[in-house]
Point group: C2
Chain length 330, copies 2
């Protein structure tokens, strides 16, 4: 049997209520009794039962993470592990536990969301992506359940979100490529359902426009996913009709695929850029210029926003923008 608050009360010769108040550090308890109770707790190695507390408090101090439905490949994208780490670091610091759920498809995703909400297991939910017309976001809003999102939602009113400035990040990339003498620049983006895909595409178009170049549809390809093969195929498609001197992609793994294509066809001079700045970029030949999106900070901030809300903290903004950094390489 585990030791309970009653055992402590007995040993300390006080009531369970008093023990409870000592645990909660209630200021109305005298220092004396605090001492006695604390001693008793130590002696008995007492640890409060989290479940019982949760039931009485009607809050669990648990956050739920919905890992998006997707092919294996998305899940394997290093982005996620970094986000999970960031979430974990802030949450732990604030006394929250984290639960995650991996979904195979959108239906499962929604089911897990509902389970989280209605089982009273979690106090709040963090979504790891925002897609077009996101059904999860809609549902959470309707239910008025606390949540935050990584990725700017289409309709951001009343939702807590954190994101990079994806428009600006891609704008900078393209600007950089132009400054290196490229004007024919291909764009390979992930699935359009992700809001950031569109944002990055806009950045691409605007950067070209600002220098007086018109974007060309045949230089723009959206892939079905984020793995290397997608990048390879997209690149192939572009070169069927065009001869860009540089390709801007929205993901390092896409960039790897592009590189593979370029190497095979010996298109040595074509520059390629990625996004996320995963460590292996540095070890590629040539090494790959990429945008560091600081995924850990995205996770950290998403947890921060959500927990602030749960604790009724005043917030200036309903969102946080995480800085990106263009890491130039070969």
């Amino acid at each position: 049997m585990n030791v309970t608050i009653k055992d402590v009360a007995k040993l300390a010769k006080v009531s369970p209520s008093t023990v409870s108040r000592v645990i909660a550090n209630n200021p109305r308890i005298s220092d004396e009794t605090k001492q006695v109770v604390n001693d008793a707790m130590k002696k008995l190695k007492y640890r409060p039962n989290a479940i019982a507390r949760s039931l009485a408090n009607r809050k669990t101090n648990i956050l739920g993470i919905i890992i998006p439905n997707s092919d294996e490949n998305l899940f394997k994208n290093p982005f996620f592990i970094n986000v999970l780490r960031g979430i974990s670091i802030y949450s732990q610091k604030s006394g929250y536990h984290i639960m995650y759920t991996y979904s195979k498809n959108e239906e499962e995703e929604m089911n897990y969301l509902k389970e989280y909400i209605y089982s009273n297991l979690v106090d709040g939910i963090i979504l790891l992506t925002a897609v077009e017309n996101d059904p999860l976001i809609q549902y959470l809003k309707e239910e008025d359940f606390p949540f935050s999102v990584i990725g700017r939602p289409e309709i951001s009113e009343g939702v807590l979100w954190v994101d990079n400035d994806n428009f600006k990040a891609m704008y900078d990339v393209v600007n950089y490529l132009i400054s290196k003498g490229n004007s024919e620049i291909g764009f390979i983006g992930g699935p359009q359902k992700f809001v950031f895909s569109t944002d990055r595409l806009e950045g691409y178009k605007m950067a070209l426009g600002a220098r007086g170049y018109q974007f060309k549809n045949e230089l723009i390809v959206h892939t079905e996913g984020f793995d290397m093969n997608n990048g390879y195929l997209a690149c192939e498609k572009i070169f069927e009709s065009s001869r860009p001197t540089a390709i801007a992609t929205t993901d390092d793994l896409l960039a790897f695929g592009v590189r593979k294509y370029l190497d095979e066809k010996e298109l040595i001079d074509v520059k390629v850029t990625g996004f996320n700045n995963i460590p292996v970029n540095e070890f590629q030949k040539p090494s790959i210029t990429s945008v560091d999106i600081n995924s850990e900070c995205l996770g950290y901030s998403a947890a921060k926003l959500l927990i602030s809300k749960l604790n009724d903290k005043k917030m200036i903004n309903n969102h946080l923008i995480v800085e990106t950094k263009l890491v130039e390489r070969d």
Copy 2:
């Protein structure tokens, strides 16, 4: 207010006990009442409160994962995300939720372990690595708290564990390298505190021995971590004194570092092998031969063992061996 079992009872005109029995699918309840109660639950959109159930049942159906203390780099190793996925898939299938905890150092790691145990939050714990003289394993054994480990523990008696046959896997790698005409083969392993590091080293030595070669200490280096830089430096060290024609590493990221060194020094003919078979291997030049350790299956199996135990299933073995596969490349 959320709807509770009482609301359902009222609507169905039965007692809360009966509703509870319907939820638990107790066979003694008549089909009629089952019907009525189920209808009432649907009408009210009733969902049992997981916390209250946990308290009454004295089990939470939550598993806790301790992500090992380590530098960022270990955590970023794709191994972990795959393991997390495997754990998640089996657990969800079996009605378990998953909680994880990220620790910065061994002390924090132990604290989180204790918190998991004593807070009654989780029914069991999964450890993601086994190290020499593992304090977590010892503690869990002493407390007789249910757990499973990924990685064979030094003392495996009475502990549930799952692992690859690391000895055999490395044996096969070295054998393969020998068959390709190499006899001077370097070994770059991760930190020796990991049991698998030692196992793989043994496989290396035995494979050499079986072909009549004596291993040489100057060809063996253990790194401090698993990132590319560690691989680079280890390789440098080996080449200070020797001229191996192949290097067997215990991690793909180490292999990348080795490749970088070899490229810089234009040691073109030296073969390099890795472990884990992460997707980018295929896109390296030359592509990297690696051992697929099936990390997802490791996670899946660890969850399976633990959950079997929690459900008092009879088990034939206290461990599971997950097959590896040597993926030969350039």
